[in-house]
């Protein structure tokens, strides 16, 4: 297993799947000649040529529709959103075409498309470029939604997303592209969609978190360890389908749960996870599930305000303490 960056892991997944299946092609803004605004598609134009690595004008709805149409008749497009913020312009295509065509046609047509790109806050990109976009997708029947936190997951999950016969929304993070980690180079290394993973074993409380928040939770765990509080960290990896069994299983063991999400929170991923944990493990809970979310505000530009908007290690630590002392122990 080689140690490579998250960016390289994605690049490998794309290259391997393009080699494996001639129906796979890439389409999006600046992915070819420019090799990707974030260089995820580096070298692919040279290797596969302009028919399979297609640079587009700025027309998100148009080229996403092109991907969906091509998928209906047998191709397997991987559409890049330069950043997922721009997917709002293509949302009707994703929700009303990609997600519904299989159902509306009674199964005659399916749409094997992957829509990928970075989402979530980065560094001082302000309100229009820092949105946690998964919330627009995971409630839509007919879509699968992935948020990979590590280089290995990025590769294994992107490969299964490309092999999946249905629309998959695959949201990366600009802040993780440079992250390094061990990544299997086996050509058939894939991670099935819909399987959460326990990132860290623990006794006293379960923290559910993904992407940057998962790393904050890890830092919080170190800190809490010193206080003798041992937390288990579960990373859903796939938000839809959601692996509630693994999450609930962990909570049944620890009896306490904290859900962390970078987004603004209201009716977000944390709400859903808190709700199903409570439904399925009510009698095992020693404290109400705590939600740690981003402040409910657009993302400000100023560095200090941006920092204040995003859930911090400290906020996670406090929430864990609350659930642990909530039962008076």
């Amino acid at each position: 297993m080689a140690v490579i960056t998250y960016r390289e892991a994605l690049n490998q997944a794309l290259r391997e799947e393009m080699k494996r299946d001639p129906r796979v092609f890439l389409i999006g803004e600046e992915i070819g000649l420019y090799e990707g605004a974030y260089k995820v598609t580096q070298g692919l134009l040279k290797e596969f040529g302009p028919t399979r690595v297609v640079d587009t004008p700025i027309a998100e709805s148009g080229f996403t529709g092109v991907g969906i149409g091509a998928a209906m008749v047998g191709l397997r497009p991987v559409v890049e959103m330069m950043t997922f913020n721009f997917a709002l312009l293509a949302l009707d295509q994703i929700v009303n075409s990609a997600a519904k065509l299989c159902y509306m046609s009674g199964g005659q047509y399916n749409v094997p498309i992957v829509i990928r790109g970075p989402g979530g806050p980065a560094h001082q990109l302000a309100a229009q470029h820092s949105q946690s976009m998964e919330t627009y997708f995971y409630h839509v029947p007919g879509l699968k939604v992935v948020r990979p936190s590590t280089p290995a997951d990025a590769k294994g999950l992107l490969k299964s997303a490309i092999r999946d016969d249905n629309p998959v929304i695959f949201i990366e993070s600009e802040t993780l592209y440079a992250l390094k980690g061990e990544v299997p180079d086996d050509l058939d290394y894939i991670i099935p969609l819909g399987e959460a993973v326990v990132r860290r074993e623990g006794r006293d409380a379960t923290v559910i978190a993904y992407m940057g928040m998962m790393y904050r939770a890890m830092e919080a765990a170190e800190e809490l360890e010193k206080e003798g509080i041992s937390i288990e960290i579960v990373d859903p990896r796939t938000l839809r389908p959601m692996d509630s069994a693994t999450i609930v299983g962990s909570v049944r063991k620890t009896h306490r749960a904290v859900v962390v999400e970078a987004g603004a929170g209201f009716a977000g991923m944390g709400s859903e996870i808190a709700a199903f944990i409570t439904e399925q493990a009510f009698d095992d809970l020693d404290a109400p599930v705590e939600r740690v979310t981003g402040a409910s505000a657009p993302m400000p530009y100023a560095k200090n305000l941006e920092k204040a908007k995003t859930p911090s290690r400290e906020k996670i630590i406090e929430a864990v303490r609350r659930v642990c002392y909530a039962n008076g122990s």
Binding site: F25, T51, T56, P57, A59, S61, G62, F63, T64, G65, V66, G67, I68, G69, A70, A71, M72, V73, G74, L75, D92, Q93, N96, S97, L101, C102, Y103, M104, S105, G106, G107, Q108, Y109, N110, P141, G142, K144, R163, D164, D165, N166
Partner: protein, 343 residues
């Protein structure tokens, strides 16, 4: 280069000139049969709607049959067609089975989409009919994608994309035109300009009411055609399809037609936004009557032929209605199937 290329001959036909030499009795029969079949299918659908056997929205294309038939008459089965919610005719003449279509309108298990789609969402993979889309403008980029796939796969099929005048002000019209022209995709965009988008007339929707002229902005071949003249539509489409097959050149055709009924069954008269006189005047250009008279006049068909065709059509559609009526509702557990394709 983009230019208005309607030949005088094609134009003159619009004024009831003779069918061109390439029309023989068999083709005349086929064109008339197809137009009559669409008309009958929709008349029966309207009856079923009145009886509550069809629900939701039902949009009829009565008066516009010459577009679907003229266009489809130059297509092959392996060619693709994609359309709006006013797609019964497009789907039917592409070769779909009226029985399964009617069953879909009835919301029954034997419908094309197992009853899950309804009138607005007809799909038939066996004849490459790609639907049945009810978000105005949204299927134009899909058509470009189909054209992209044809080119990618090295095929020589074309994709015909039907849309209404109401889709032209939508951003996706512009995006699809630009991408198709920029990438030279084998797509024939056929605007069924019936002069109204629900209650909004062309003049109230577009700064440019000569829709075909938008094609000039993208440097693609574009022309208007009399959409009530099945032969004119056939000729114009034949040119566009040939360009698409041979050179992968997209085209924009503006077929000038008229809907005799309201926008949907919920707008029966369609009289708030247009005058009775206008509707009556347009009905004088009934594409079926026009073509039947010309075919009779040219001796391509006899009165007897026409009566036979009528009988065949009526029997076929009656049978379709009976089939739909006899089909059961979809089983309850189908609610949760087909959301995803299970690999």
């Amino acid at each position: 280069m983009a230019q208005k290329t309607t030949s005088p001959r094609a134009a003159s036909k619009g004024n009831g000139g003779r069918p061109s030499p390439d029309i023989d009795g068999e083709l005349a029969r086929k064109l008339l049969y197809d137009m009559m079949m669409i008309r009958r299918f929709e008349e029966k659908a309207a009856e079923a709607y009145a009886l509550g056997k069809i629900g939701g929205f039902l949009h009829l294309s009565i008066g516009e049959e010459a577009v679907a038939v003229g266009v489809t008459s130059v297509l092959r089965t392996e060619d693709y067609a994609i359309s709006t919610y006013r797609e019964h005719g497009h789907c039917l003449v592409k070769g779909s089975d009226p029985r399964r279509m009617m069953a879909e309108l009835f919301g029954r298990r034997d419908g094309l989409s197992k009853g899950k789609g309804g009138s607005m969402h007809l799909f038939d993979k066996t004849v490459n009919f790609l639907g049945g889309h009810a978000i105005v403008g949204a299927h134009l980029p899909l058509a470009a994608g189909v054209g992209f796939a044809i080119k990618y796969q090295g095929g020589d099929q074309v994709c015909v994309c039907y849309f209404g005048d109401g889709a032209v002000p939508e951003g996706e019209f512009h995006e699809a035109m630009n991408l198709s022209a920029l990438w030279k995709l084998p797509v024939v965009y056929v605007c069924e300009n019936n002069r109204y988008a629900m209650g909004t007339s062309l003049e109230r929707a577009l700064a440019q009411t000569e829709i075909w002229k938008f094609g000039q902005a993208y440097n693609i071949p574009c022309e208007p055609v009399d959409g009530m003249d099945v032969l004119a539509v056939r000729e114009v489409t034949a040119r566009a399809v040939e360009r698409a097959r041979a050179e992968k050149t997209p085209s924009l055709i503006e077929a000038r037609t008229y809907r005799f009924r309201g926008h949907s069954m919920r707008d029966p008269a369609g009289a708030v936004y247009r005058t009775k006189e206008e509707v009556e005047r347009e009905k004088q250009r009934d594409p079926i009557v026009l073509f039947r008279e010309r075919a009779l006049g040219a001796g391509l068909l006899t009165e007897a032929d026409v009566r036979t065709l009528e009988k065949e059509v009526n029997d076929r559609i009656d049978d379709a209605v009976a089939f739909a009526d006899a089909s059961a509702e979809p089983p309850a557990d189908w609610l949760l199937t087909d959301i995803f394709k299970e690999s």
